[in-house]
Subunit: 136 residues, 3 copies
């Protein structure tokens, strides 16, 4: 069985954001056992799973990703959409466009410290669309 929902997230500033609650509030109650697949319909933002507690972790994610994929490198050819654009595409591939999470006992079976991240790589990305697919 499959249940699908489109989700429109609130706009986020550039950086890494915990969206577990925002996602869960927009989908129907989970089945007892299965998988939740979340897919982002954009090429300059990503989804990931990481630490849900100390906000300093999300700050350092932004620092590390900027160090991994800097803006303004001399070899770039795709520069027409701004200096944050092409690096955002690369970061989106590094983080990934989807996450899949087990559902057990009608809850997401995440570890204690895990949450779902929206990785917003554009300076002004606007509202991002997700597709949530629950299969059970």
């Amino acid at each position: 069985m499959i249940k699908q929902t489109e989700i429109l997230l609130a706009a986020c500033t550039r950086g890494f954001h915990l969206i577990t609650n925002e996602v869960m509030s927009q989908i129907e109650p989970l089945p007892s056992e299965g998988l939740l697949h979340l897919f982002i319909k954009h090429t300059s933002a990503g989804l990931a799973i990481n630490e849900n507690a100390d906000p300093s972790v999300r700050v350092d994610f932004e620092g590390f990703f900027n160090r991994l994929v800097p803006e303004g490198l001399p070899f770039l050819t795709h520069t027409i959409e701004g200096s944050d654009d092409m690096p955002a595409h690369v970061k989106a591939v590094l983080s990934g466009a989807s996450v899949t999470i087990p559902i057990s006992g009608s809850k997401l079976n995440l570890g204690t410290w895990q949450g779902i991240y929206l990785c917003e790589f554009r300076n002004y990305g606007g509202r991002r669309k997700l597709v949530a697919t629950v299969y059970f």
Copy 2:
């Protein structure tokens, strides 16, 4: 329900290549709702989802990935298969071996600008095998 197909891609030059049409032409018509999982059976090429329009994006992906994972670093021990080999393994983990895409209304529910990439990290990778699994 599950439907599986093995796909043999045409050989690609080193770099990032749009394969959405090549993949879709080799699998059966999609069900109304579900998920498509694509898996690459190789360790020096990857799959990703990113921008399907301007080819300069794919050029810069190659530049960025080479900057992230350069060839010829002095600490390398796995050098017997050529200088492009070990970096290709690392890049394959960074991009990932599979993508999962929602199916809605009997189509891939991709964003307007999204396409499926074959990330070919070897100089001469040859034809690459995928497994396509549709579940619905």
Copy 3:
């Protein structure tokens, strides 16, 4: 149909480790066709798929990941849990928290050279918990 199992891995040293056999020995016989989803319930270790033969590949993965995400960078703010902690979070996003592998003919349909990696990014990560979900 869905079958879920929690798996507790043996503790691993920091680095990249082949766990295909350890995982398969802890789940029930596979169905004829389907998908295996493995999810790691931690934020400083990851899962990946890569080369299962020459151990020097795994050695160089450790070297490359340390080069990509070094310890002790001056911009870090999340330093309270040790110098290996924040880099481990970033590496975990780069590798990913889950892998999904096709099942065909009651076996994992991996390429000849592919195996499942536990990517242990902490110096002392301890035993790691996975959730295995088979759907068919």
